[in-house]
């Protein structure tokens, strides 16, 4: 994991001090809310329905035990004893007092954390593959480049008042676990014809009101050109992105209105015009310095099969199911990655109590090489766990109520906070997500259904990523009543697809039964049990599922 040097440390401390001054001026009335708003937003402070919310950055989703414990401390000392892990691999607190925000920032700075650029019209916290450095299929660890992008984008003097927010994601796996095609800029590490590793450069993806799959502007760009090319893209966007309508201000609209060819031409022209002193090229020693922090841990030489793990799997239905659903293959023999699904039945997806956070810290420290990740599915992941330790990890998770065995399954729902917390929202998300979870309450039934991504958003801003759910649910307000539109066929992986709205919205209480009918139709139509929901739908089209959706019960 990256460690701050004196420069990174100074910057974060100075930022905390600056924000303390801004809050003081606001509380004294020297700063109007209108002028304070963008300042607090660039520091992750939102004004929600009931209180201020603070979004803390977890760069590319990586934590360690010390940081996780500090996050738990913040939850206890400044909030109501819990926190919410987000789809952007960050963590949010819903009940922090404005006057105490500066103290929280100081506490975070003590463990090399901050809330810089977690909101506002700037380059947001960069996200990545939560299994980086552990998974089987990546060509290189993407995290050094995430960290390089984090540093380059922090307080960028030219790109801090963009037309709209700007999200960058990096992945290096064949399987895209970072949803790079639905980001403003997605970077997919790939080899060129000569075998050199660089980046496929993807622009203009995004969800929200107008969802788009990003378009490739360069099949491959060299590492040494990455930051300069990013600058060229950012400058074209900063100068020409629309500012007349905030719903048309994301880069995806610019790319779409100009067309890919013209957008690329402008970027290439800007890139070619850069003087040598305008190029952003890090010295090779600096790239190496940052990369060294992400060097693979020293894995022990272990047998591929662990008798302790085999005995664990045979030791009971509940734990066998957890082992089947919550573990992911690891590149080192005898190791595995563990998903903690923060989606037990009936809880707000992504929420954890401070006790649970401390438990996650302890377990990660003891069994997970002190490496803890936040996944965009709102789960927490230990990338490196010995198979031999899986029984102990499970027992400890179970003791903390963190043993939900539904990772990647129907009840592992992504949902935004919805109308219960958010002042943008039109409808409740958490309650509808909980009712859909209940459809899958029987583990045998849920396993029978298999892999299924259900994503729920409480409004068209799409924080619950409903456009890329196999089944997406979108809350809308019709004359003061909540309705839910259902979408089919979305996916966020390397085959990224925007889901299609099926038809008229359903009432809150109609959603779960309708989803149950759709699942029933899938079970009836699938060719074999291994054919996933999304694949059956791909093979047969959406019509039969739509029919089931609207069939009266």
């Amino acid at each position: 994991m990256y460690r701050y040097d004196e420069f990174d440390e100074t910057l974060v401390r100075e930022r905390a001090k600056q924000f303390r001054g801004q809050v003081e001026r606001r509380l004294k009335g020297e700063l109007r809310e209108e002028h304070f708003k963008p300042l607090r937003l660039q520091n992750g402070v939102y004004l929600q329905l009931h209180a201020y919310m603070l979004r803390v950055a977890i760069p590319y989703g990586q934590l360690n035990a010390k940081k996780m414990r500090q996050l738990a401390y913040v939850a206890d000392k400044f909030d109501k004893g819990y926190a919410h892990f987000t789809t952007r691999q960050n963590v949010q607190y819903n009940w922090i007092k404005l006057a105490e925000m500066p103290d929280v920032l100081d506490v975070l700075a003590d463990v090399e954390m901050h809330a810089i650029q977690t909101s506002g019209n700037c380059i947001r916290n960069v996200t990545s593959d939560h299994l980086a450095g552990a998974n089987l299929d990546e060509i290189e660890d993407p995290r050094p480049w995430c960290e390089i992008i984090r540093q380059w984008s922090t307080f960028h003097p030219e790109f801090s008042s963009l037309p709209r927010k700007f999200k960058i994601a990096v992945t290096a796996g064949e399987t895209d676990r970072a949803a790079v095609r639905v980001h403003d800029i997605g970077l997919h590490m790939k080899k060129n014809a000569e075998g050199r590793i660089g980046f496929e450069f993807i622009v203009g993806g995004g969800l929200g009101r107008t969802p788009y799959i990003g378009l490739t502007t360069r099949e491959w760009i060299a590492k040494e050109d990455l930051l300069s090319y990013l600058e060229a893209n950012m400058r074209v966007y900063n100068r020409h992105g629309r500012r007349d309508n905030k719903y048309k201000a994301r880069i995806k609209i610019l790319v779409n209105e100009l067309g890919l060819a013209e957008y690329s031409r402008q970027v290439e022209e800007e890139f070619a015009a850069q003087n040598t002193w305008e190029k952003v090229v890090l010295p090779q020693e600096e790239v190496e310095r940052i990369t060294a922090y992400f060097a693979p841990p020293k894995f022990q030489t272990l047998p591929v099969v662990s008798s302790a793990f085999e005995a664990f799997k045979a030791g009971g239905r509940e734990q066998a199911r957890w082992a089947k659903n919550n573990l992911r293959p690891h590149r080192a023999p005898g190791y595995i990655s563990v998903h903690i699904a923060l989606k037990p039945q009936g809880v707000a997806p992504g929420d954890a109590t401070s006790d649970q956070m401390r438990a996650m810290a302890d377990i990660g420290e003891q069994y997970g090489l002190d490496d803890i990740r936040v996944a965009h599915e709102q789960d927490v992941v230990y990338p490196h766990v010995k198979l031999d330790d899986v029984p102990a990890v499970y027992a400890a998770l179970k003791a903390a109520g963190l043993h939900a065995s539904n990772a990647g399954m129907g009840s592992d729902i992504i949902a935004c906070p919805g109308l219960d917390y958010c002042n943008l929202s039109n409808a409740r998300s958490i309650s509808v997500a909980n009712e859909i979870q209940a459809v899958f309450a029987d583990p045998e039934f849920e396993d029978e259904v298999g892999t299924l991504h259900v994503n729920v958003s409480g409004c068209i801003n799409a924080c619950g990523h409903h456009h890329v759910g196999h089944i997406g649910i979108l809350g809308v307000d019709k004359k003061g009543e909540e309705f839910y539109q259902v979408l089919f066929g979305g996916r966020a992986d390397e085959k990224a697809t925007i889901a299609t709205i099926q038809g008229p919205g359903l009432k809150h209480e109609e959603v779960a039964p309708a989803i149950r009918r759709v699942i029933g139709k899938y079970l009836e139509l699938r060719r074999e049990p291994t054919e996933k929901f999304i694949d059956t739908m791909g093979r047969l089209g959406q019509a039969p599922f739509k029919e089931a959706l609207y069939a009266s019960a």
Partner: protein, 178 residues
């Protein structure tokens, strides 16, 4: 409204002349880009110092042929959250090598000063009591920067590289063949 030049209150010697209005016979005269492009011969030949006011949607590259003869370029922040003028200033300084005054006009607020200074503004029209003190404070709130910018502060990446080179001077000398 006070004008700050390099952080100090200064007299504003520039007269902005609207399109269609008659130009004074001499003095510091600033006009729109459109007027400059049609009348630059007269303007530059006359007894004037010439300045240009750019809308933030206009291309500063249009001024390239005359930049060494332009004494002031005014850029605009119609709203302080609209950062287009930051790109215009960076282009003028770093791409085209413009060295005379770049002035920030419009909604210029203290919490944006640092971004403006770093992007190449050296003059600010700012509605702020105690403007010099606020400038002195805001321009020094941060001592470290990751990005190279028009203000030419040493970047964190450069400082790290320097520190590495101080650590192993002999290696460097060997590599350079000294």
């Amino acid at each position: 409204m006070p004008l700050l030049k390099d952080g100090k209150i200064a007299d504003d010697t520039w007269a902005f002349v609207a399109d269609g209005d008659e130009l004074p016979a001499e003095g510091h005269v600033a006009v729109s880009l459109a007027r400059f492009l049609t009348e630059h011969e007269t303007l530059l030949a006359g007894n004037h110092q010439v300045g240009v006011k750019l809308a933030n949607s206009e291309d500063p590259g249009a001024l390239k042929p005359w930049l060494d003869r332009i004494g002031m370029i005014a850029l605009e922040f119609p709203k302080y959250v609209d950062g287009r003028a930051l790109s215009q200033a960076q282009l003028l300084r770093r791409r085209y090598g413009y060295t005379n005054e770049i002035r920030a006009t419009g909604q210029v607020l203290r919490d944006q000063l640092r971004l403006m200074i770093r992007s190449g503004f050296d003059a600010l029209v700012i509605d702020q009591a105690d403007a010099e003190a606020v400038y002195a404070f805001s321009s020094h709130e941060f001592s470290e920067f990751y990005q190279a910018a028009a203000d030419q502060s040493a970047t964190i990446f450069e400082k790290r590289q320097q520190a590495r080179q101080v650590k192993k001077p002999t290696d460097e000398r060997t590599r350079n063949g000294n």
